[in-house]
């Protein structure tokens, strides 16, 4: 899985000032699930995305804390109020402390 960590962001081509738009963010990640043996969870350092920070114009919009019960290749759609043309950033952090970042330019008209 050489693609682990690829971040894809989808934002509308242009947004009217003051309206609410949505960003869809995706990271290629196995999001390991907890294994069981004889009904008991196996104690292992599972690798899953457990923290996602969404910022727009440097301000935090949302903080997402997923568990292992979020599907493989976690994807989230989050709204934001478009005020100015600028950068929307999404940072994914997994339980092994690895960061994956993506950014998209939001054009406000």
């Amino acid at each position: 899985m050489a693609d682990i960590g690829t971040v894809k962001l989808a934002v509308p081509g242009s947004v009217r000032r003051g309206s609410v738009a949505r960003v869809r963010a995706l990271v290629i990640h196995p999001q390991e699930r907890v294994e069981r043996q004889g009904g008991r969870s196996v104690d292992r350092n599972y690798r899953f995305v457990n923290r996602i920070v969404v910022t727009y114009l440097g301000r935090e919009i949302a903080l997402i804390e997923p568990s292992t019960a979020v599907s493989e290749n976690p994807t989230f759609t989050i709204p934001f109020r478009a005020t100015e043309t600028g950068l929307l950033k999404v940072t994914f952090v997994d339980s092994h402390g690895v960061k994956f970042e993506g950014a998209a330019e939001v054009k406000v008209t």
Partner: protein
């Protein structure tokens, strides 16, 4: 003499067995305490315990009219079940939805995800894909800025389990 010794040994053995039995009985019903890496995950527990752990004894009101949960009635693959949650809110600094919790009642660890929002989101909305272990209700709790809690739920039939854990 021999008879007395046998009886003593038997009694001792019996007491030993009883002690082991008592130890096992005392240890078994306790929920498996998470150690090592598992301690970083939420504990395996029924959803009522998760709600108590997250919100204590704070009242949770029925939010069926506020919270819209968009989910398929039948999920063919429990490994990826789409969900879209929208909570009616003006999203102003004075009155906004602070957090959305998505919990699957039949998952061993019921809390799927917690989303913390700021008024800059403009809308209380989130969409993602969940892993569902079995057919059962998915519950959504919305926490508003003033600390009040609202709950809504939606039944989903899962054809192939997502082995959520």
């Amino acid at each position: 003499m021999l008879g007395a010794m046998t009886s003593t040994l038997t009694r001792r053995a019996w007491l030993g067995l009883a002690a082991i039995g008592a130890a096992v009985a005392a240890w078994r019903p306790r929920p498996a305490r998470a150690q090592g890496y598992l301690a970083n995950l939420a504990p395996e527990e029924p959803i009522a315990d998760t709600l108590k752990r997250l919100f204590g004894s704070r009242p949770i009101k029925d939010g069926a009219s506020l919270i819209t949960i968009g989910m398929p009635l039948i999920a063919e693959d429990g490994a990826a079940v789409p969900i879209a949650v929208e909570v009616k809110s003006p999203m102003t600094p004075e009155n906004h939805v602070k957090a959305i919790y998505i919990l699957a009642e039949k998952n061993p660890r019921p809390l799927n995800v917690k989303i913390t929002l700021t008024p800059a989101a403009g809308q209380a909305y989130v969409a993602t894909n969940l892993r569902l272990a079995d057919t059962g209700p998915v519950r959504v709790v919305a926490e508003t800025g003033d600390g009040s809690l609202w709950i809504a739920s939606r039944d989903v039939r899962v054809t192939v389990a997502g082995c959520a854990a």
